[in-house]
Symmetry: C2
Subunit: 297 residues, 2 copies
């Protein structure tokens, strides 16, 4: 195919997968790629391998040779680079691109959601985090990780369901159908088995229980309602704080977003607008913006 | 010294230390020993080394040679042996004693607290667990570990304080002095540092914050009050459930017990009676009881 004047690559690199999008100077999609984890705190080599793997897929899908990698203006939104240590590791990478601009996965999600314009975004998936990008300023809230944060996220809902089920099995909380559904899902027969099997797992393992919790809440299951209302209360407070920065728009993305949205407080719910583009398109917009900044400099 | 007819050794083996007590047939203390972790889930070799180390100390303190180990009738209350896997590991140990009777640390704490008689006990320390021993039956509640349980414990209070402080620093909860005390204690300057430094620690590291939380609650600090009242609510519900088994007595032991007791619901608080003897004495009582059972068999 005819080679475009400029080639942009947008990278959405998360803790479980890396999605890339190749686009021409008009933002026209040419090819995509998908690979494994690209969060540098899971290992720099793994992250780099994931990035290169998905990049090569996208080049091939567009009919380009792998050697074209040195023509790419790359915008990478990566989980973990909010921590200076991991950002530095990636900045020091001897990358093969013509330009390599790094930011957080949150920033590209926000740029995608508002089509490159300013706004606020909440990600509710395995974890939870919020960000407002207004008047050139970035405000990040939450995102402290599963151990000490991530309230209202899928992993938080899942582990809270385990904790509540254990209390119900001990007779310390009124029982509800949630307990049996948790036992069935985990194939455990009692509290001892549940505690042994479900202790100290990865956040993603707990997040698998979240759909079940939301389903039970819709059926007015008391234990599940308590969990979902608590989680939604955190997300509502997060959204309300983001709205104090007066963002033009507020969007919610992530696997749990459509499930938790109906449970948010009404003042927040009516402010949530759909994301216009996905994060990898946000990464292309980021690459284009940063390339312009580079040219001017 | 004159050699007693029978020598009993009581072992209180926990996750951080192993305490042993050597006593004669009248329960008279002859010597003590103290060593490292004796929870087999931290490693069977480590647990055995801790047991043997503390045993030798006690024999020497009593003026006996190490070779006297083969005369000991041992009662061992060990953390972790509520899980069948770890109990089996210890039962298969080719121990050097004349008799070696194994039970949980909870059981010997209960026997000690009620001087060998039946009753119920709650341990509130780094973790939390409850047990009632009534009419020869044992009922265990909670104790599911830091990851999915241990509500109301020191570790639970500490990590909850971190979570609340992070929300307060994000402006999602009304601030109180607790936040600054948590920052001072951890020597962190902001939410990012606090989240990085205090994520994924051992339960004992979080438990160090518990005294501070209880202190702030006494000063009517809103964030701290919320944590302590929540924790005390769990312990109250645990106690109330244990009381349904009609134990003659209920005691609370563990480092957090005296601190949380004033916060319990009144109906529970007025039922709590002091522990009569410490767990290692409970282990001696257990050894004597089991030796009697062996003789009869």
């Amino acid at each position: 195919m005819k080679r475009p004047e400029k080639l942009y690559l947008g990278i959405d690199g998360g803790g479980s997968k890396c999605k890339v999008l190749l686009a021409d100077e008009h933002g026209q999609a040419l090819g995509t790629g998908i690979s494994g984890p690209a969060n540098p705190n899971q290992g720099l080599d793994l992250a780099i391998n994931s990035i290169m793997d998905a990049t090569e897929q996208a080049l091939h899908a567009a009919g380009f040779a792998s050697s074209m990698v040195d023509q790419l203006i790359v915008g990478a939104g990566l989980a973990g680079v909010n921590l200076p240590k991991y950002r530095l590791m990636l900045e020091q990478w001897d990358h093969p691109f013509t330009q390599f601009h790094i930011t957080t996965d949150l920033q590209i999600a926000c740029m995608g959601a508002h089509n490159g314009m300013e706004g606020a975004v909440i990600i509710a998936g395995t974890g939870s985090i919020g960000m407002a990008h207004v008047n050139g300023q970035t405000h990040e809230l939450g995102g402290y990780g599963f151990s000490v944060g991530d309230q209202g996220s899928g992993a938080w809902m899942g582990i809270t369901a385990i904790k509540q089920a254990l209390q119900a099995l001990d007779g310390l909380l009124p029982n509800s159908d949630l307990t049996q559904r948790v036992l069935d899902f985990t194939q455990c027969r009692n509290a001892q088995e549940l505690a042994q099997q479900m202790a100290n797992l990865k956040p993603s393992a707990y997040a698998k229980l979240a759909p079940l919790v939301v389903e039970q809440a819709a059926l007015k299951d008391t234990l599940a309602l308590d969990i979902v209302l608590n989680g939604a209360d955190y997300i509502s407070r997060l959204a309300r704080k983001l709205l104090t920065y007066n963002p033009p728009r507020l969007s919610m993305i992530g696997g749990l977003a459509p499930r938790i949205q109906p449970w948010l407080d009404e003042d927040v719910r009516e402010r949530v607008e759909p994301a216009i583009q996905p994060p990898e398109n946000g990464a292309i917009l980021f690459a284009q913006q940063q390339a312009l900044v580079s040219e001017k400099a």
